[in-house]
């Protein structure tokens, strides 16, 4: 290596006769240099660019000088749970554990250097690296902090992640199981033993007057019930006999399609879904109802993306490193969407390297700040912008025609295209559901009668897509007496439905800007891509908008191309391999109509006839999964389609009172014991939702329990993250899955206890603890593909030492070890000692890393990279992409029976009954003038992180952003208190006057205005605890001017206002926010408000 070698070969002969260097020759040198007239021309040293005083200032950024040495036995790797990025992290245990109840303090949280997710832009340490060398920073190639400002002894972590210490060690943590005293929501509790809590949940309790699961639960298999039901219809079985047989088993013997009573026992969680949802709820209990957060998250985007591709593709992400043009749409990847540690460095480096990035967002977000162009679209009108761009692209022939004319995989492969589109596939346009034509439909002979049909460009004749090399795009003909048109013809008609000027007006964007965006997007071949998520999707038109944005990429066919659209969830097997963790011997098969009515056609249920067809009492979501979470509570209240007998909720990740639009209506339902008979919450603190439970059970935080969080969808290499208990803060906290194991055992339900988990040889293993499941999961990860190396004796010892240090008496090595075979244990330890498994960027990485070090982009630049295969990504979508979604029109709107649209479309944001809330295509006038948008706060992860004073110090409350033009009109100045009138509710807030928000739109961060999580007064066993609402132990402070940090002290946990509580309720339903009937999302950007000063300054 020539750059680091300081030895110069002297270019001439040394002047041995000269005096020493300190002598006269120095003076000659100085004199000679002083005589150089050219110095005045050279400008000398540009001292003007230097601030000498700033050099090595004591507070120099980035280079720390003081640190304490530690060893690998001070470190346990796990996964962060502060936001849904779920970064792999390193927990550095404190040297002294003190005398608290906790097993260990945490000195510091940092990123996990074994994971490429947390070492951007550098490479991760090789997987086989000795944990001792990694922890001490002695690994060859790791880098030195004081030379390269980077050492791979730790990885990146964000502010929220570091504050995880305050989540684990929160004063307001729940310490014991608690049972309510007095009515629900009265905040009075008594502590009970775990035994009592489980006993009462199972057997019922006279004191609170609720039934137990033993009485509530009943199940019978679907085929048995439905075969008897058919016998009733055929007159072979009397109705009385049927009723007698099933009245204690079915929800309603008049409507057996609702399923068994087990369905009235509902789980609302999200995390640990492969364990609790799949194993315990579905197969153990036989209930279809285990619900996660999707409805209040980005499900319309997920469904819209899925329906735009034949293969599994939930999200849109670019191959950032090689992208020349990136259009970020309604997402803020510098802050969210897997962004802070992973995408932020990638994006800034890519911009530095010349990538152009434009950002569509009504607000100048942290990402938009770095954009070439900020495109402040009108909220809810994103589809108009997308279809406007599509129109420009179509009219200017800027689509990739060669790509679009490929009818299938083989012709695409001939063009080096990993994907192909349905553009030339024919649609039966006169049919009710307008499906795509199959060869059989048109009387064509084909090897596969289900083959799609195209018109062969060579013959001009219709033919099975499989038999054609090149097909025609524009087709509108009659074949075998049936009218057909190509998907492209229909898509083209759709995008031409409005003029560019009309689209521009709807979107609130200049025509010229639409031209520019479309031009730029189509000027980089395959190296342009879109990253989009919740912004355009969380409206009632979200599904169609996600489709409109997604299909823009079909036009350039950028999928799987280097620099194009990336589609990887690449990971390692978790649920199968050595152990079939998803299998439950003699398990139940859940069936019946889900309470959230997803994936079921209303018309095909017995309720359609009962309720005289349209409109249905509440919305149905026939083409989305049953995850419209926002509908749960009002459905329970209406007993539609049936009542809820028992609700088990883990509000740590599903605090719906805070996270659902109109969540302020939920407590009314929760307080009603007739609506929901039994509510059990497992929570870390007493949150807004768990406050209303009958029993609240103390749950460990993410630092104290197991988890296998989903991985990132936008990476180039495979990985699998694994959380494990690192410390125990609350001795009596129990992970909910273990509590459920005990309850399931009491009820003698399958899936737990002895003989619960089959291994690859068919032998059965017991499931009594979390370790029984998760150590096996670690083993599955370890053995996938090429198994990981065995942990040697030293690593085994290290594992024991670190876990003993972290967990103290709560660590039972034998229990962990006995969960798998002795041979497997060594590999499981390898995975656990690294917090998961992370694919290396090249083969032979260990040697390359030792030689070249961390600061080389192996994945991106090395010729033998595992990330790319030539010009393509190695992990691929590799399927058809769809302009035309033939699934959507199989579903109908439950209000009027209108079929859903197979094509992207632009439409208003509407209520269930079609009343317009946000006009896009129509001219309706909203009730109030300012549209209210909202966003994830930069320094909060979820509602669950506002307990951290460190985080609240960075932004104590949520100001309302308002454009100077709108502020002036209302006499508002930055820092003023204002009354925000949203119609049904009015709140007070501080205004931030800024040009960083579109005129006519105001906005704020969500997550504030809490009434739980330590923000309320609580009485436990007669002892009153105040809410942390007053200064939180800090000196008095003021934080009155948004954007100006005057104090740095946190406000109380209840500061600010809850933006979801000023969202409109659905006009027709009156008890919940608006929903997208196709994709299932809760509409969370739908409010119109007015602002006025609270008082004179």
């Amino acid at each position: 290596m020539t750059d680091s070698n300081a030895t110069h070969t002297d270019p001439g002969t040394e002047r041995t006769d000269e005096p020493p260097a300190d002598g006269i020759d120095r003076r000659d040198f100085v004199k000679a240099v002083g005589g150089m007239g050219a110095l005045s021309l050279s400008g000398g040293i540009a001292s003007t660019v230097l601030d000498f005083d700033g050099w090595f200032g004591e507070d120099g950024h980035g280079v720390g000088t003081e640190y304490g040495d530690y060893e690998a036995s001070d470190v346990v790797y796990t996964t962060c749970g502060q936001c849904n990025t779920f970064c792999p992290i390193k927990v550095r245990l404190a040297d002294e554990s003190g005398t608290g109840e906790y097993s260990s303090l945490v000195r510091k949280l940092a990123g996990n250097p074994y994971s490429f997710l947390n070492t951007q832009p550098n490479a991760q340490v090789p997987y086989a690296s000795d944990p001792e060398e990694v922890a001490t920073g002695d690994l060859e190639g790791t880098g030195e902090v004081d030379v390269s400002k980077w050492s791979l002894s730790g990885g990146r972590i964000c502010l929220k992640g570091q504050a995880g210490i305050q989540t684990a060690f929160d004063t307001y943590r729940l310490r014991k199981p608690m049972k309510r005293v007095g009515p629900r929501g009265s905040d009075e509790w008594q502590t009970v033993s775990w035994e009592q809590a489980i006993e009462e949940i199972v057997e019922g309790d006279d004191e609170l007057g609720h039934d137990g699961l033993r009485e509530l639960w009943a199940y019978a298999p679907e085929d048995e019930v439905m075969s008897d039901w058919e016998a009733v219809q055929a007159g072979e079985l009397s109705r009385e006999a049927f009723d007698e047989r099933y009245e204690d088993v079915l929800i309603d013997t008049d409507h057996p399609d609702l399923g068994p009573k087990a369905n009235q026992i509902i789980d609302v969680g999200g995390f640990r879904r492969n364990f609790i949802r799949n194993r315990l709820w579905h197969q153990g209990l036989g209930s279809v109802n285990s619900i996660h957060h999707a409805g209040v998250c980005g499900i319309s985007s997920v469904v819209g993306n899925n329906r735009s591709h034949d293969g599994q593709k939930k999200r849109q992400y670019p191959d950032v490193e090689n992208c020349e043009y990136l259009l970020v749409w309604g997402t803020n990847p510098m802050v969210a969407n897997k962004g802070p540690t992973w995408l932020a460095p990638k994006l800034t480096n890519a911009i530095q390297d010349g990538m152009r990035m434009d950002v569509v967002d009504p607000r100048l977000s942290k990402t938009a700040e770095k954009a070439d162009t900020w495109v402040p679209v009108k909220p809810g009108a994103d589809a108009a912008l997308a279809l406007g761009m599509a129109r420009w692209i179509v009219e200017h022939d800027r689509y990739d025609e060669t790509y679009l004319r490929n009818p299938g995989e083989d012709p695409a492969a001939d063009d080096d295209e990993p994907t192909w589109s349905d553009a030339t596939h024919l649609v039966l346009v006169d049919e009710d559901e307008r499906p795509k034509a199959r060869a059989d439909d048109l009387g064509l002979e084909a090897d596969d009668p289900e083959s799609f049909v195209v018109v062969d460009a060579e013959t001009g004749e219709p033919a099975p897509a499989d038999d054609v090399e090149d097909s025609l795009l524009d087709v509108e003909i009659t074949v075998d007496g049936r009218a057909v048109a190509s998907a492209w013809t229909l898509y083209r008609e759709r995008v031409l439905e409005y003029s560019l000027e009309e689209y521009a007006e709807m979107a609130g964007i200049d025509v010229d800007l639409i031209d520019e965006l479309a031009d730029e997007f189509t000027s980089h071949g395959k190296r342009a891509a879109i990253m989009a998520y919740r912004g355009p999707a969380k409206h009632t038109n979200g599904f169609y908008t996600a489709r409109a944005i997604s299909t823009l990429q079909h036009l350039i066919g950028n999928f799987d191309w280097k620099g194009g659209q990336i589609t990887t969830d690449a990971g390692y097997r978790t649920m199968s391999g050595r152990y079939e963790l998803g299998q439950v011997p003699d398990g139940h098969e859940p069936w019946g109509i889900p309470i959230l009515r997803g994936g079921v056609n209303y018309e095909e249920t017995s309720l359609f006839e009962r309720d005289d067809g349209y409109p249905a009492e509440r919305p149905w979501f026939p083409v989305a999964p049953p995850m419209a979470t926002q509908e749960l509570y009002a459905s329970a209240d209406d007993e539609y389609p049936y009542g809820v007998e028992a609700l088990f909720i883990r509000p740590y990740s599903n605090n719906h009172v805070m996270s659902a639009a109109g969540g302020d209506t939920i407590p009314d339902v929760l307080e009603d014991e007739d609506a929901i008979g039994l509510i059990v919450a497992s929570d870390t603190v007493l949150g807004e939702t768990s406050r209303y439970a009958d029993y609240v059970l103390p749950e460990p935080t993410y630092l104290e329990r197991w988890e296998n969080f989903g991985t990132y969808p936008n990476k180039r290499l495979a990985d699998e993250k694994l959380s494990q208990p690192t410390i125990r803060v609350v001795p009596d906290a129990r992970p909910f899955e273990e509590v459920l194991i005990d309850i399931w055992k009491e009820l003698d339900l399958p899936g737990v206890g002895e003989d619960a988990i089959p291994d690859a040889d068919g032998d059965l293993w017991s499931l009594d603890t979390s370790e029984d499941f998760y150590v096996k999961l670690a083993t599955n990860i370890a053995y996938d593909r090429e198994p990981v190396p065995d942990a040697d004796a030293e690593e085994l010892e290290l594992f024991e030492q670190a876990h003993e240090k972290g967990l103290g008496e709560h660590f039972d090595l034998e229990e962990w070890r006995d969960a798998v075979t002795e041979e497997e244990w060594r590999k499981a330890v390898t995975v656990l000692n690294r917090g998961g498994r992370f694919e290396e960027p090249i083969d032979g990485y260990e040697e390359a890393f030792a030689e070249r070090g961390h600061d080389y982009d192996y994945a991106g630049r090395h010729p033998e990279t595992n990330a790319y295969d030539g010009d393509h990504l190695r992990y691929r979508l590799g399927t058809r992409v769809d302009f035309y979604d033939e699934v959507a029109p199989t579903g109908r709107h439950a209000y009027d029976g209108e079929r859903f649209d197979p094509l992207p479309r632009v439409e208003d944001v509407v209520h269930y009954n079609g009343d317009v809330q946000v006009p896009v295509t129509s001219d309706d006038e909203p009730d109030r003038p300012l549209q209210l948008t909202n966003w994830k706060p930069r320094t909060q992860g979820m509602n669950r992180t506002t307990g951290s004073a460190w985080l609240r110090e960075t932004q104590p409350e949520n100001a309302v952003w308002i454009n100077p033009a709108d502020a002036e009109e209302r006499g508002l100045e930055n820092g003023d208190r204002a009354r925000l009138d949203a119609g049904r509710r009015t709140v007070e807030a501080t205004v931030r006057v800024t040009g960083g928000i579109r005129p006519g739109v105001v906005g704020t961060a969500w997550g504030f205005g809490r009434q739980g999580g330590g923000a309320t007064e609580t009485t436990i066993d007669g002892e009153r605890t105040d809410g942390a609402t007053e200064e939180y132990g800090h000196a008095a402070h003021s934080f009155d001017t948004p954007g100006v940090d005057t104090s740095g002290y946190a406000k109380g946990r209840d500061a600010g206002f809850a933006v979801n509580h000023v969202q409109p309720l659905d006009d027709e339903l009156g008890d919940v926010g608006l929903s997208d009937p196709v994709g299932g999302s809760n509409a969370q950007f739908a409010a119109y408000v007015e602002l006025e000063p609270v008082s004179d300054r």
Binding site: M1, T2, D3, S4, N5, A6, T7, H8, T9, D10, P11, G12, T13, E14, R15, A21, D22, D25, R26, R27, D28, F29, V30, K31, A32, V33, G34, G35, M36, G37, A38, L39, L41, S42, G43, G44, I45, A46, S47, V49, L50, D51, F52, G54, W55, F56, G60, G62, V147, S148, K149, W150, E851, R852, G853, D855, Y856, R861, H862, P863
Partner: protein, 228 residues
Amino acid sequence: MSMIDTPMAVTVADARADLYGLLAAALDGETAVLAAAMCDGSLVDVAATLPVEIDASALEREDVDEEALSIAFDNLFVVPGPKYVPPIASAHRDDPSEPFESDSPFHDEGSAGELLGDPASTMSALYERAGFQPQRGEFPDHVAAQLEFLGAAARAEARALEDGDDERARAERFRTLQRETLGRLGWLDAFHEDVAAADGRDGVYTALVTVTRTVTAWHARDLEESDR
């Protein structure tokens, strides 16, 4: 650390800063600067004071054709053609390298180096650490950027020394920066040889790089001795 004669140390550091500034300008394509220093013979005078004998005669001309100088510079250091010698450290690394299409001799595996490789990132980190933004050279590891930084560090050292005893520790930190930068200039050996092979008959740039290489080598030795 050896005792330092402060007044002399200050003037030497300032002189080095000046000289590095001039060399940086000349190697950044400012042919007017180079031409002026050639016409008045001052570069040759400076070369004569260096502790080794070098042939810098090509740098003394009564009449300099600035345009020819500019063309020579472009062909040597800017245009990736047959005479091209990349003036950046990354290109002179021999590991790793990927072959690429080029008319230049620097495209074969084992000699190509790369653009913005490790040396660039190391220098960039060094600049960032010092709060320095190079104005010379297109890349952080461009010879002109490295010389400019050396000059800035020398200047800063001089000012710190002038400020007296309290600032000696600070001066030492600036010397550390110079040491680290000089440690990253080993590639000048290869650069010099390549320029000598590609340069035209007049050999102006060969001589300029000779001076540069000698000045930096002397500087490195000087710092080494001050450590003893």
